[in-house]
């Protein structure tokens, strides 16, 4: 199953979004969180990102979802074409779309595509 790694500025945001995504997509989906800095502050830690990547990696590839700023920059640094890819999508919507697609055992490319479709989701129309 494709893993979904959530990279955010705060540990709470990343963890709760991961819990929400697993709640909607199913607990079998490897959704992991890398939020905040190692000392618990706001920011991004490449060490935490790499740890979350290892925890979500089942060998079928990883989709990274980042919130903004340094999370996006850090996620771009750990991208590996064809294996670890960053989705260009809002954080919560992208996390849920990717997790649901992953739960259907879709391949990496399709999970990324599903996540990125969430960019255009409208809520009022």
């Amino acid at each position: 199953m494709v893993g979904v790694v959530l990279v955010a500025h705060s540990a709470g945001l990343a963890q709760e979004t991961a819990a929400l995504a697993r709640g909607i997509a199913g607990e079998a989906v490897p959704v992991t969180a890398a939020g905040g800095t190692e000392d618990g502050g706001l920011g991004t830690s490449v060490d935490l990102v790499e740890r979350a990547m290892r925890a979500a990696d089942q060998g079928d590839g990883l989709v990274l979802i980042a919130d903004l700023g340094s999370s996006v920059l850090t996620a771009r640094l750990v991208e590996e074409p064809g294996r670890v890819v960053l989705a260009d999508v809002p954080f919560v919507e992208g996390a849920i779309a990717a997790a649901v697609a992953a739960s259907a055992d879709l391949p990496l490319e399709a999970v990324l595509e599903a996540a990125e479709e969430a960019r255009g989701f409208r809520k009022l129309t």
Binding site: G43, T44, V46, L77
Partner: protein
Amino acid sequence: MNAATDGATGSGTGAGTGGGAGAAAGGGGGLDTAFVVAWLEEAAGEIARQRDRLTELDAAIGDADHGTNLDRGFSEVLRALRETPPSSPAQALMAAGATLIRRVGGASGPLYGSAFRQMGRTLDSGEAPGASVTPAAFAEAFGAGVTAVERLGKAAAGDKTMIDALAPASRALSQAVRDGLETREALTRAARAAADGARATVPMTARRGRASYLGERSVGHEDPGAASAALIVAALATAASRTAAG
């Protein structure tokens, strides 16, 4: 070792290999490992001294952590260079880059980290990688570092980012080297271009990062990333004076 650096960062002694002896940056000669280490030390010292100013600039249009983040990152760079003294300019730059990427939680870590890492990679893949590089090779590597920042941050000139200081510095450095100026003068021109570039961000409207959410209200403030970039480039000229005098 540079007393001001040590005093300001509280990081103890400098990086060991950077202390004057044998360093070369004068004349038209090559730039060696000691010069690159001296650059990183001078940059760390200046960032530490101006930490509060950088943070104040960031408080106006950012999240008020730029000075603190960079100071911590560069202190870690000095520590890494002390623990594993580099044996080539490329090695020193790659170590600095990796440390900044790992140790700075804000956007400046990946950005400056990528710049230094790319500089190191470019020097390493040059025709004659070794303990000393020509001013032309250094200028080319600097340009490659700036390009890495542009690519990662998707920023262009005029976006009110560190690129507005780095890109003019790179152009000035390349031009000065092409004109055959002595290394110290070339680095001084790069420093001047970076400082001018940073000041020029004041009237700009931010188009990247947190400040971009402020739109027109970002006008009238110097970009903190451009300000720190100007300090880092200025440290090149300081390091050149220091090592040539050693």
